[in-house]
């Protein structure tokens, strides 16, 4: 708490202490409340801690000393130190309620993005444009974005420390938050409610871009997958359709349209695989397909026991899904 202040001074821009590096009006409101209350708490700690320290230093027992005067209390003192905390609490209550309004305004009728938590990845749908993606959420910088939070299974929690509050996804009870990034930047988000085996790897990226870049991104994301450019990729697509991949995944422009696992239409455009566990490189994709359980133990995708050539063909195809 006290050192909060200290660390703040030490590393405002390094990005280590993310909660203390707010990048949106919402997060900043919470940060300001944090600073105010930290100052109050620090004062209390110094006063009461000082009282204890004073007692410990000043009133040591020495051999042979008789027992001191037996003071059993003082009503005035008790009254004073009951009333002062009352006042502090009242002040904090009003500060908190004011912050709530700024950090968490009421939702609009239609959200900009619907984020759905799955064991163990995030699905993001943009109802206004129709974009569907996973684990990498692009937003236009400089404007508030309304996010509706849902879950396909258990509780998850959506948390991007620099951008604002966290919020649980609850079955049958959609929640809502606002996020905003003042400047173009990329942020790491995590699932912060324990959700099973791979709760640790349920990361996502928020990519805030200038509005024109964001629109360009949306446009590419809406394009269906193009036909495989070479034989190997074509065999990969065929394999994708023959094996049970299609039971879980969708690729716009092919027959695959299931929504159990992440949408793969633009898989190659995404930066990470397995909700953040590895970089999205051909080598890692190969490892993943060869046995996803090796890369991310417990992940819902089974090991299909593909042969090496099959893996290569699938990777060749997936790498075309820009």
């Amino acid at each position: 708490m006290i050192a909060w202040q200290f660390l703040l001074a030490a590393s405002p821009e390094s990005g280590v202490i993310k909660v203390l590096n707010p990048q949106s009006p919402q997060a900043r409101a919470i940060y300001d409340l944090g600073v105010t209350s930290s100052v109050i708490f620090a004062c209390i700690f110094v006063i009461v801690g000082g009282m204890i320290l004073f007692a410990v230093m000043r009133y040591r027992w020495r051999e042979g000393e008789p027992d001191p005067r037996q003071v059993a209390g003082n009503r005035t003192v008790e009254l004073v130190w009951t009333i002062i905390p009352c006042l502090i609490v009242i002040a904090l209550f009003f500060l908190s309620s004011r912050t709530m309004g700024v950090a968490d305004p009421p939702p609009p009728p239609e959200p900009d993005i619907i984020v759905t938590g799955h064991q163990w990845w995030w699905e993001a749908r943009y109802p206004k444009s129709g974009v569907v993606t996973a684990n990498e959420i692009h937003i236009p910088a400089g404007q508030p974005i309304s996010v509706r939070l849902e879950t396909a299974d258990v509780l998850h929690e959506f948390w991007v420390p620099q951008l604002g509050r966290k919020m649980t996804t609850v079955p049958g009870h959609p929640n809502h938050i606002w996020i905003q990034s003042d400047e173009p930047a990329t942020y790491l988000g995590v699932c912060s409610e324990f959700c099973g085996t791979q709760h640790a790897w349920m990361h996502f990226l928020i990519v805030a871009e200038p509005p024109d870049q964001f629109q360009a991104w949306e446009k590419t994301q809406l394009m269906p997958a193009s036909a495989p450019p070479n034989d190997s990729a074509a065999r990969g697509l065929a394999l994708f359709q023959q094996m049970s991949c299609m039971n879980c995944h969708a690729i716009n422009g092919t027959a695959a349209n299931a929504g159990v696992g992440p949408d793969l239409t633009h898989l190659a455009s995404r930066r990470r695989l397995g909700a953040g566990i590895v970089e999205n490189t051909p080598a890692n994709l190969r490892r993943w397909l060869a046995d996803p359980q090796q890369v991310k133990p417990g992940v819902k995708m089974p090991d299909f026991k593909f042969t090496d050539p099959q893996v290569n063909e699938l990777v060749d195809y997936f790498e075309t899904l820009k």
Partner: protein, 742 residues
């Protein structure tokens, strides 16, 4: 084997007469001192288990991307660590201390119900074994210590771990309620003459208040566990979609869970209130305020649970209510901290190991309290919740306050329990290693949380700062491990070779120091006069005794009858259980269900059977009257009538169930059926228990026992029977009558 008996004798835990049957001497004991020690030893064993789990957790987190343990193993480890430390360490150890000390502090010979006491204790190892048996039955639970639905439901946790977890917590919960009823009745009915409630030592006072919190809160958890088990075993949907509510589980769990924090914190407050004055050589500053603030904390703690749910989207209105109530609780807590500090000011502080631990607990708790307020402020909680900041906060409470206070208490009362002093040198080593290790482990975690590290992750990427902070924390944890080993070593060495302890080695003032160390069977040969809160101070300082506390009226007040007080306490404990079942019924039936519903029930038939049950309240009252007037035959006649009427009611309920089953309605048909069978079923179970008790009473009466004046059981059973009827009045109104009024 006789050598073992000799060793046991030498370290003072067997009397010479017991050498022959030394195994049974402890297994069958009903002596509160031995039960207390059994609690403590059990707690210590599980502390080792939970501690090893903690060290494995810290090993896994020492470096980024670690693969020391598998993800599911890690998830089992933190689930078992949390459950073990709370239910099998903190509670048993605090109950054990209270078991040993409370009867001594009030000058009693034993607890009010020694056999209930033994029963409550033995449920702890049984529950602990049940929980750990899950390792052999397909894997321990891996859902966190609060087992949030729907992750804890069959579709997402299909193995038996969660079932074992729920069953063992039920067992432990029943034991905790049993022992708390015992504390309440002991304090109310077994105090020595002149030991009025206003003269109670603060430790006893806090255990007394705390016991009410236990009997109010634990049954709420029991109701939730029962619903979870019904979901899992009978395929229903209390907390599962469609229809069920995951948030409902959180409400139930935290309605228990937050009071639970205070259930383990209030005894720690009691320990601080006992030890700090003794080693400051002054009475506690503001006894009334320390005692009164405990009551305030206990009350408020029942109304703050949803601050654990600020991120679930309850809405700002509800959030604001719980911000206010949660912040309010900081006031009585702050008053306590200030009173303890003021006790030291102007004193002559002796830095013995117990005092050092208590001063450390005070400072650590000051910090924990302040970071606690930052969780009460919902907007800050929106950021810090479920991060390592929260992990740091609650470990400051659980370790910084509670474990430190317990260590202080064990160093303080060990001479009384064993007749030997602990080594001060080892004690101080333990203290410094513990404090340094603890702050290394947990202080840094505040910053890990602010750096964005969520809790309950089995590993983490190598982000700036995360690696070294985690490593630092792990090193601290191992220093705490060394400190714990040193403490255990101190216990063993001192038991065998420690300096003999005098009756009152610390020059303390409460009654436990007025008897030998260890105390004889039934505790006291004679008691000093009791006029104030510090009887032994008055004895030692006849020239300046404490002011006399209390009036003649208070001293002459007659203690309530034990059985009656016990049953009343038990009935209070049922409020939470039936309250949750009734609220759940109302909640899940607020919107009409498709399929079977309450309008399909036969109100007339149930009305008739209900009349039988209500009539039985009258007959048992007549039976008691008969007993009171010494009319033996009349008493037996009315008793038989009561049993017959109760039997008719149960038969009627059986008939109703039969008709429902016939028409295809079963417990998992829909949420109406689920809640209906759960609520009426548990009421029926209570009626059956009452019938068994009545049959036993009838047997005793027919055997002529009551004529010999051994009849206090009947009014107690009568009270319970009335309670069962009152519950049925509510159930009848809610389930059968209410739907016809809409």
């Amino acid at each position: 084997m006789n050598e073992i008996a000799q060793v046991l004798d030498r370290i003072g835990i067997l009397t010479p007469e017991e050498r022959e049957h030394w195994k049974m001497a402890w297994l069958s004991t009903v002596d509160h001192k031995r039960i207390g020690i059994l609690y403590l030893v059990t707690g210590l064993v599980f502390f080792v288990v939970g501690g090893i789990e903690a060290l494995l957790i810290r090993l896994q987190l020492a470096v980024p991307n670690n693969t020391f343990v598998a993800p599911d193993t890690y998830n089992m480890l933190f689930t078992m660590h949390g459950t073990t430390m709370i239910f099998l360490v903190a509670m048993p150890v605090l109950f054990g201390l209270a078991n040993y000390i409370v009867p001594l502090q009030i000058g009693a010979r034993d607890m009010a119900f020694p056999r209930l006491n033994a029963y409550s204790f033995w449920l702890v190892p049984f529950g602990g074994i049940l929980l750990h048996f899950s390792f052999l039955a397909g894997g321990a639970p891996a859902v966190g210590w609060f087992a949030y639905a729907p992750l804890s439901e069959t579709p997402y946790s299909s193995q038996l771990g969660v079932d074992y977890w729920a069953l063992s917590l039920l067992v432990l919960g029943i034991g905790s309620v049993g022992t708390s009823i015992n504390f309440i009745v002991t304090v109310l009915s077994s105090r020595a003459p002149h030991m009025t409630l206003r003269r109670l030592p603060l430790f006893t006072w806090m255990i007394f208040v705390n016991s009410f919190l236990v009997i109010l809160a634990l049954p709420v958890l029991n109701a939730g566990l029962v619903m979870l088990l019904i979901d899992r075993l009978l395929d229903t949907h209390f907390f599962l979609m469609p229809g069920g509510s995951a948030i409902m589980w959180q409400h139930i769990f935290w309605a228990f869970g937050h009071p639970e924090v205070y259930i383990v914190a209030i005894p720690a407050f009691g320990i601080l209130s006992e030890i700090i004055p003794v080693f400051s050589r002054k009475p506690i500053f503001g006894y009334e305020f320390v005692a009164g603030s405990t009551v305030a904390i206990a009350f408020l703690s029942l109304g703050v649970w949803a601050h654990h749910m600020f991120t679930t989207g309850l809405g700002h209105a509800i959030d604001l209510f719980f911000i206010a109530s949660s912040m309010l609780i900081a006031i009585p807590t702050g008053v306590k901290v200030l009173n303890w500090s003021a006790t030291m000011i102007g004193g002559r502080i002796r830095f013995t190991t117990p005092m050092l631990f208590c001063i450390a607990a005070l400072v650590q708790f000051l910090l924990a309290g302040l970071t606690g307020v930052s969780h009460a402020a919902a907007p800050l909680d929106w950021q810090t919740k479920n991060s390592y900041y929260l992990v740091a906060h609650f470990h400051f409470v659980f370790v910084g306050l509670i474990v430190f206070a317990i260590l202080g208490a064990l160093h303080y009362w060990f001479p009384k329990m064993s007749g030997r002093m602990l080594s001060e040198r080892l004690g101080k080593w333990t203290f410094w290693l513990m404090v340094i290790g603890f702050n290394m482990t947990f202080l840094i975690q505040h910053f890990l949380g602010l750096a964005g590290m969520p809790r309950r992750v089995y590993t983490y990427p190598d982000l700036p700062g995360w690696g070294w902070m985690n490593m630092f924390s792990t090193v601290g944890a191992f220093i705490m491990g060394v400190a714990s080993l040193l403490f255990v070593w101190n216990l063993i060495v001192s038991l065998l070779r420690g300096r003999k302890a005098a009756d009152n080695p610390w020059d303390a003032w409460t009654l436990e120091w007025a008897t030998t160390s260890p105390p004889p069977h039934e505790n006291f040969r004679s008691l000093p006069p009791i006029h104030s809160r510090r009887p032994l101070w008055d004895v030692a300082n006849p020239d300046r005794p404490d002011p006399v506390v209390g009036t003649k009226g208070e001293i002459d007040r007659v203690a309530p009858e034990k059985n009656r007080a016990g049953v009343i306490a038990f009935i209070i404990s049922e409020i939470g259980f039936f309250g949750i079942l009734i609220l759940a019924y109302l909640y899940y039936n607020a919107t009409p269900q498709s399929g079977p519903n309450a309008r399909g029930l036969d109100l007339v038939r149930t009305g008739f059977f209900s009349l039988c049950l209500f009539a039985s309240s009258f007959t048992i009252w007549r039976s008691e009257k008969g007993l009171h007037l010494g009319k033996h035959g009349r008493m037996i006649g009315w008793l038989i009538a009561t049993i017959v009427l109760g039997g008719i009611f149960i038969a009627g309920q059986g008939l109703e169930y039969w008709h429902l089953f016939e028409s295809g309605v079963s417990v998992n048909s829909n949420l109406f059926a689920t809640t209906f069978f759960t609520l009426t079923g548990f009421h029926g179970l209570h009626v059956c228990v009452g019938l068994i008790a009545l049959l036993i009473a009838l047997g005793l009466a027919l055997a002529g026992d009551f004529r010999k004046g051994r009849a206090p059981a009947l009014p107690a059973i009568g009270l319970y029977w009335h309670f069962v009827d009152v519950v049925w009045v509510i159930v009848l109104s809610v389930v059968y009558i209410l739907p016809h009024l809409r």
